[in-house]
């Protein structure tokens, strides 16, 4: 069995889950193993949608997310003899799969760009050294791997409806969730967006991000922020791009008033095209930019919005 952790937002499967499924089917075909899904939920899960993508669907409603509960749920599903466990790459998945991999003494391949069967083992590529180096790695079965979003074609439904197998997940020692601090985000998800518009300290204020939001919405993209901006309380942590935030790899990354610290570059240096706007011509971001404007972001950004509107007309 190849087991796929189907990540979701309560209503729909995440696109990255369909990417993980594509990777899983490739391993399933090569190793002659069926592909099963595991759908874990705090309260609610997109059960009907998930049933269309796999032959067997293990499910459990576990209450507030903790790495321990999720690891226990996956280990319970894996008892069916999982040769490989795949999940979309996220901070949370790397925490619960770290537990799962140790429990199964399996090779853990994190944040893979691609993965394929070879000689009875699983090979993969991934970034290392703060996204500056590409590694090729391999692991024997059983293997646990996370799939970097936006790397893989989306799986199509199978055309049937999976048998649903409720899991009896044992109680495990875990943390007690006292208070969830939810951040309301609008628009497309940052890690899946094809265009990301990031504002840095140079934006000067939380209010100035209204224009960043406007440009992102106009381009059908997502808003990003630097650590300094999040620390200043101008934007929520969920929007932070960088080593201590999210890693993104869109077609177009706009860095507005961003200086280009190493920690920020680590989160976006693989973007296809990078555009920088900064009034300091010496800002390190320009060394990493395909296109740039040396100028005041407060003048450039409104002009940019107008120019994009003109282009769209």
């Amino acid at each position: 069995m190849i087991l796929v952790v189907l990540d979701h937002d309560g209503n729909r499967l995440k696109k990255a889950s369909l990417e993980a499924l594509t990777r899983a089917r490739r391993l399933g075909e090569a190793f002659g193993e069926r592909v099963a899904g595991v759908l874990l939920a705090e309260e609610k899960a997109p059960l009907e949608e998930a049933r269309r993508y796999v032959e067997t669907l293990y499910t459990a409603v576990l209450g507030p997310y903790t790495a321990e509960r999720w690891a226990a749920g996956i280990l319970e599903a894996a008892k069916g003899g999982a040769k490989a466990i795949l999940a979309p790459s996220s901070r949370q998945s790397r925490a619960y799969l770290g537990r799962v991999a140790y429990a199964l003494k399996a090779g853990l391949l994190e944040d893979t760009l691609d993965s394929w069967p070879e000689g009875g083992e699983v090979h993969a590529t991934r970034y290392a050294y703060l996204n500056r180096v590409t590694q090729r790695v391999k692991a024997a079965l059983p293997v646990v791997l996370t799939v970097k979003p936006n790397t893989t074609p989306l799986a199509e439904p199978l055309g049937g409806e999976a048998e649903v197998v409720p899991l009896a997940v044992p109680e495990v020692p875990t943390v007690e969730v006292l208070e969830r601090l939810q951040e309301q985000r609008k628009g497309v998800s940052l890690t899946e967006a094809d265009i990301v518009v990031t504002g840095g300290r140079g934006m000067g204020s939380a209010e100035a991000f209204r224009l960043v939001e406007e440009l992102a919405a106009l381009l059908g993209g997502a808003v990003g922020a630097t650590r300094a901006v999040v620390d200043a309380g101008w934007r929520p942590y969920a929007e932070q791009v960088g080593q201590t935030g999210k890693t993104v790899q869109p077609s177009l990354y706009l860095a507005l008033g961003v200086s280009g610290a190493v920690q920020h570059l680590a989160g976006m240096n693989k973007s296809k095209y990078i555009v920088a706007v900064n009034k300091d011509p010496e800002a390190p971001i320009f060394k990493h930019a395909d296109y740039g404007i040396v100028g005041d972001v407060h003048q450039i950004l409104p002009a940019l919005i107008q120019a994009v509107k003109k282009l769209k007309d």
């Binding site: 790495a67 321990e68 901070r91 790397r94 619960y96 770290g98 537990r99 991999a101 140790y102 003494k105 399996a106 090779g107 853990l108 994190e110 991934r126 703060l130 996204n131 500056r132 180096v133 590694q135 090729r136 790695v137 391999k138 692991a139 020692p173 875990t174 943390v175 969730v177 006292l178 601090l181 951040e183 265009i195 650590r227 620390d231 942590y237 969920a238 080593q243 201590t244 077609s251 177009l252 190493v262 920690q263 240096n269 095209y273 990078i274 555009v275 920088a276 320009f286 990493h288 930019a289 395909d290 296109y291 740039g292 040396v294 100028g295 005041d296 002009a303 107008q306 120019a307 282009l311």
Partner: protein, 247 residues
């Protein structure tokens, strides 16, 4: 009480990396205590200062890792344990090598960085927690001890939460948790005399590193003068539309 920080030595993020024989060659790079692990060291020191007891640094890596252990000792950690291993190791293997040391020390809590700046792994804390059979709190930004438990704030993929956890537990650390102190000169002098116990790593690597290459994408570097914002922006949009074809 006993507070353990698990650390590694990694290249400085600004260091130039070279490839030699299909592997990253660190011989010319500046090597430092992983900055994510620095938050773990600082937090262990603060917990010890507040609650008493002992602060221990446990390092994993080749001989040179002793430099990073000395840095942590110079910051104020009481003693060190160096689990010696040459070359790449996956988080499951690292946790396997560290588990006997941590079990023997039986710490009140264990801290380690949220992500390694060389192997880009975020899983060591979780793997360590599994090895010890205790809960993990990932990406911690606030931590307070309350008797037998700890109250912590940590980041999720979306948002954050407050949790309470019975100790012992593993916490992964990041920017925002604290501001790491610099080693002082007396601290550096004292660190030279502090004990570092060497332990040979016993582990079974599950992941084999086949090759590494640097893929710093060559950037176009077309930088426009923004003195006339409208003209500069029109040229930028034209380039993005016609040349890059991303708009």
């Amino acid at each position: 009480m006993k507070f353990v920080a698990v650390i590694r030595q990694v290249p400085d993020g600004e260091s130039r990396l070279r490839i030699q024989g299909g592997r990253v060659d660190l011989s010319g790079a500046t090597l430092i205590l992983d900055q994510m692990d620095e938050y773990a060291v600082e937090e262990a020191l603060r917990l010890k200062e507040k609650h008493g007891g002992e602060a221990i640094v446990v390092g994993f890596g080749p001989e040179r890792t002793e430099e990073a252990l000395r840095t942590a000792l110079a910051m104020g950690m009481d003693r060190g344990v160096h689990v010696v291993h040459e070359g790449f190791a996956d988080p499951v293997a690292v946790a396997e090598a560290l588990a006997p040391v941590l079990k023997e020390e039986a710490p009140t809590l264990v801290l380690t960085g949220g992500q390694q700046a060389d192997w880009d792994s975020q899983a060591l804390g979780a793997a360590l927690a599994e090895a010890l059979g205790v809960p993990v709190v990932a990406w911690t930004t606030a931590l307070e001890l309350e008797g037998e438990t700890a109250r912590a704030k940590h980041d999720l993929d979306e948002g954050a939460e407050w949790v309470r956890v019975r100790l012992p537990a593993v916490f992964t650390t990041q920017q925002g948790l604290n501001e790491p102190r610099y080693p002082t000169l007396p601290g550096i002098m004292k660190a030279k005399k502090k004990e570092i116990r060497k332990v040979e790593a016993h582990l079974s690597p599950r992941v084999v590193l086949l090759s590494e290459e640097i893929q710093e994408k060559a950037r176009l570097g077309k930088i426009l003068d923004g003195k006339d914002p409208v003209a500069a922006v029109e040229e930028l949009v034209r380039l993005l539309h016609e040349e890059a074809k991303v708009l």
